[in-house]
Structure formats: structure tokens, C-alpha cells
Symmetry: C2
Subunit: 246 residues, 2 copies
């Protein structure tokens, strides 16, 4: 059995998230599986690094699948990209060891959240950023971001319908970068993330940047393990899965 990994990029605007769902629901996984079936007939062990939500994008999602067939990866990538819809593309393919699993083997995932801090929303960024017209305090947001670095219980910063008890995660880095035309990028890397964790953390940091919340309230929210003490979740359209390391 051969195990192949692919780096996939997609514009999530018109999809109900990555994961296949019952019923007539358009997801990234369905489109990828459809193409793999056309090209391979049969395959097994489909896995992926990050379960992105409806409307979330990826510059660097990693998937893997197993097949008895020996693939010419250059040719296979071309064929797959011809069959995939224009908003999903395979960037890179690689043969990986039999025990590699794109989800379980991942040691770091990085997400980037885009904010347009300006008094108009760029025609090119409307589907890819959140517009905030009030001038944000970047220095203060960097201090807020620092509070999330480390191994902590993020129970307050997730939407946990399944009542997961394991809410401790390791956040390795969290940077707030500013670019011309008021573009801000919030880059956060962790071992793995809880459900909606990035969007709730970014929402909380933005409340600090707006002056609607003080820095100390973040310590309190982390300690309390209570979703109600964290900030509002930000929209999916500004979020990108940007890196996965193994």
C-alpha cells in the first residue's frame, strides 16, 4: 500500500467547510474524494490536518490517502487539478511513510486571520477579511496576544457542544502584523486547536484593540473556564489555515 500526501489550497467562500457531511452539502472533502475516486477508482485512509469550518480558507491544508497504485505524482497532480473546481487546487504531492497520518502526525498548525482596519472594504478582500472601521490599538493587541502563548486551558475560548474535557492546548506563537492600507494579520500557531478557538481568541483580542475590554480580563477569562467571559467569535471569511508541520 502506498501512502500519498498533498498540500491543498482552497477558497472556502462557497463551501460548507472541509469535512464531508450527510446530505447534499458542498464541502472541500467531497470535492477531493470525488476526484480521487475518478482517478484511482479505489483508495483508503483519507485524512486531513485541519477541519476548517464553513467559509474558512486554506493556503496550506494537508491531506493523505492510501492506494495500491504507484502514482506518477507530477502527472497525478495535473490530472487532479484539471478535475477539481477552480477554487480548490493541489499545490504539492509527496510519497509519505506508511504510518504518516496528516491529522495525527501533525505537530503544529498555524492559522492567519485577516482584518481590514480602514474606512472602506477593499474590493479584493471582501471575502477574505473582516472590516473594522474603528482605529485599533496594535500595541495593546500585541500585549493581549502574548497572554495566549503557552500551555493553557482554553475552555473559555471554544464552542464545545460535545463537552470535551481535554481543553488544554499549547499555543506556540501569536503575532499581530500590520501591512499597508490598514491590513492586519493575526498569526497563531499551536499543537492543535479546539473548535472555533482561533476565531474566539481573535475576537477577544480585537475587543482589546477597540478599547472595549482591558488586558487583565483575558487572565480572568482563561482562569474561569467559561465561554461567556471570552469575546465574540469573528466571521469565518477572514480565517486561513496557513501552515501544518510534522
Amino acid at each position: 500500500m502506498n501512502n500519498y500526501a498533498a498540500v491543498v489550497e482552497y477558497d472556502g467562500t462557497n463551501y460548507k467547510g472541509f469535512q464531508a457531511q450527510p446530505g447534499e452539502v458542498r464541502t472541500i472533502q467531497c470535492e477531493l474524494v470525488k476526484v480521487l475516486k475518478v482517478l484511482l477508482g479505489d483508495f483508503e485512509g483519507f485524512s486531513y490536518a485541519g477541519r476548517t469550518d464553513a467559509g474558512v480558507h486554506a493556503k496550506h491544508q494537508v491531506i493523505n490517502f492510501k492506494t495500491e497504485r504507484e502514482l506518477n505524482l507530477y502527472k497525478f497532480k495535473w490530472q487532479a487539478n484539471c478535475l477539481l473546481p477552480p477554487d480548490i487546487v493541489i499545490k504539492e504531492m509527496r510519497t509519505v511513510s506508511k504510518i504518516f497520518d496528516s491529522r495525527r502526525s501533525a505537530t503544529l498548525r498555524e492559522y492567519s486571520y485577516y482584518v481590514s482596519n480602514n474606512n472602506f472594504h477593499s474590493a479584493f478582500l471582501k471575502n477574505y477579511s473582516l472590516l473594522i472601521t474603528k482605529k485599533l490599538d496594535i500595541g495593546l493587541m500585541r500585549k493581549a496576544a502574548d497572554k495566549f502563548i503557552g500551555t493553557k486551558d482554553y475552555k473559555s475560548f471554544c464552542n464545545d457542544n460535545l463537552g470535551t474535557s481535554l481543553t488544554v492546548r499549547s499555543v506556540y506563537s501569536f503575532k499581530v502584523r500590520n501591512f499597508p492600507d490598514g491590513l492586519l494579520v493575526f498569526k497563531i500557531a499551536a499543537s492543535s486547536f479546539l473548535y472555533n478557538m482561533v476565531r474566539i481568541i481573535v475576537g477577544t483580542v480585537l475587543e482589546v484593540g477597540r478599547g472595549d475590554r482591558n488586558l487583565e480580563s483575558i487572565d480572568g477569562a482563561l482562569e474561569a473556564r467559561d465561554r461567556k467571559l471570552a469575546g465574540k467569535i469573528v466571521p469565518a471569511k477572514g480565517l486561513f489555515l496557513t501552515k501544518v508541520l510534522y
Copy 2:
């Protein structure tokens, strides 16, 4: 009479170019004029810096119009942006002198052409770049670009259906920049451009980069004043109007 200028950004993908045309044709000018009529009732002297073709985008188009009314520009911009379709946005507004004309007063126009030199086409750049899979020689393309700088007769590098005799233009700069993931940006600035001039020049430079044309052929093409000696025109979707100076 007050004269107002606006910097406009648009994604040209779904438009038949900037200029209003007879019949049921969707153009950027029509959308802008429609909104100005709603907000002002009446206005005159609508002008614009660059007549972008169907599918061409703008990060920085400049328009102006005259009205008897005194406008609160902050409020007017908000109102206009609410009424405009999401792929057209006013970035900035300014009161200008009575004699300012966004087309005739312009002293420099800059266009940027985006090329994805890679073996896949990014899901985010499909409508905004030309994919070229053959590895391009950037050093050679920079030498080719230099040949277009100066005051020259660009008769060979335009599609001239009207038989314009004034085909001399001044190209001030022409740079080829490379960014990660094989993204190349061709930035060209001139007093003004002939019809299709940027896209034919970029097409010619790309033929040099591909090895399909030698550097000296550019001198020959410039001298000959014959469209047949220049390169193929590149698609509109990679072209952006990026700067206008006055």
C-alpha cells in the same frame, strides 16, 4: 460649481471594462454614474484617468465629477460605498480645483501585470494572474523590460483600430519583481498608454523570458512600427491600474 475627485478600486472580472457603452452592458462607469445620480440628482463633467478594458482591475483609478452641491466627503463616500456593488469601492475622496480633470491632468499612470510562474494556479489568483508553467528567465526579462524605457514610438505595441498617428509615448519605468510562490509582478509607468499597449509589451517580455524570442528582436520591433513584430497580447485578468499621479 464644486469639483470632486475619487480614488476607486474595482475587481474587473464581471465587467465589460470601465467605459460606458451603448446597450445593456455592465461597465464600471455605469455603476458609478448610477450611484452619483442617486446621491446627487444631477452632476456634470464625469472623467476618469484610465480606460481599463473588459476584465482589467484597478487598485487606483481616479475619477472626478462636478456638482453645485457642497458635499460632506466622509459621509458621501460611505453612502456611495453602500450603494455600489461589492466589487467596486471608493477608497478616498477629495475636493479639487475647478480645472482638474482626472484624465487630462494626469502626468503618470502605472499598471501592474501579475504572472503566476508555477506548476499550479493559486485558488486565490485565478482571476488576477496569468499562469505560466514554463520556468521564466527573470534576469533576461529585466533586460527586455529596460528596452521599453524612454520616449519611443510604440506603434508596434498597440492595437490601433482608429489609425492613430500619435504613437509616441514616454515610459518612465518598467520593473519585474519576484515574490514567493512564483508570483511575478510587471510594473510599468508612463505618461499615458496606447490601446492594449501594456498587455502587448508584457506579452513580448514574457516571450523573451520563455526563450521564444531574443532581446534584439525588441529593438527591431520598436523600429519597424509593425504590430506583427511584437509579441502576443496577454489576457486582461492579470492587469491592474495601480497608480495615477498629477
